[in-house]
Symmetry: C2
Subunit: 190 residues, 2 copies
């Protein structure tokens, strides 16, 4: 039923954040933080015209995430939520999407602001941010509209080998993926 797809990184993110703990959890909490998106030199020609855009979407791999959890306690709340109702890294396909400020382009390297991404993160794609396609300022945002925790920075809860400590909900114990994962995590920590 599930189809498999192979993707290859086209570059890497360089940022001041060497580990999850302390990394801003979204670009709007990383205003002023600069980094680079260093694409392979083969992609220089494919960047022509991108300099006219103020922001870019960067798609990347959460390469240090622990694996899929059906239910998570996200950084912004103290209650569990279904994974797809969050932006947590514990996704079936651990792909992250961040809208970063584009400061300049030199060769195949983008200098970017509002960086909320770990140093060394593999990049899958760069797309222009287009307000007509992407900006919906007023829309409802579920539990985030009644946010209870003022967390601004990540901790280790989604890191490989430590996730069992956090997302400890009944739902996970009975879930298929959940129980697999938990088993593996325990092994890793023993």
């Amino acid at each position: 039923m599930a189809e498999a797809f192979a993707f290859r990184s086209i570059g890497v993110v360089r940022s001041p954040f060497l580990e999850q703990t302390g990394t801003p959890i979204q670009p709007n909490l990383a205003v002023g933080v600069e980094g680079t998106v260093e694409l392979d030199a083969a992609y220089i020609d494919a960047l022509v015209g991108l300099e006219g855009f103020e922001r870019v979407w960067v798609l990347y791999v959460f390469d240090r995430a622990a694996g899929f959890q059906k239910t998570v306690v996200p950084y912004r709340d103290d209650r569990p939520h279904g994974l797809f109702a969050t932006r947590a890294p514990a996704r079936p396909n651990p792909i992250g999407v961040s809208s970063l400020r584009l400061l300049s382009i030199e060769g195949a390297t983008l200098r970017v602001g509002d960086v909320d991404i770990l140093d060394g993160t593999p990049v899958l794609d760069v797309k222009p941010y287009v307000p007509a396609f992407d900006a919906f300022p007023g829309v409802r945002a579920g539990w985030l509209d009644e946010q209870r925790v003022r967390a601004r920075r990540a901790d280790r809860r989604f890191e490989r080998g430590v996730q069992g400590e956090v997302a400890n909900t009944p739902r996970q114990v009975h879930g298929h993926h959940g129980s697999q994962r938990r088993g593996r995590a325990r092994k890793g920590r023993s």
Copy 2:
């Protein structure tokens, strides 16, 4: 240098669009078009809480795209642009991102509006749309701010086997990937 990553589809998009020709090229041109995102039943629990969000990001595979082109003539212009300055499917990693209106959730099926995605498209991820993270209404959008073509629907230019007909720029002839691709495309059509 490039790292490989294997992803698996977690579901499929159902939409009225059976082929690229005639498909709206962005969600804001597909207002009123309804479809479904049918996730595998294993993901039901992971959807808890998503119903409170008005829009969702759907990440999917452009599974009928022809392959990477460094330079493309996008639907919205008559001039060539670097691939990364466009949202065209001809990406090194053919991953699409669309912000769809979330109408309802039943089981593991999301009923969605503003669908600009081909029927049968494999889904990689669903994320909540969060205005605080995602909405930047006023930002500059390069060549799209001075858009010269009023195209609203796709044609076959990014379809497998026909791309050589369109993106016929000098840059591509000399480019490494470009020339490979053109060769393959020609073979496919002869």
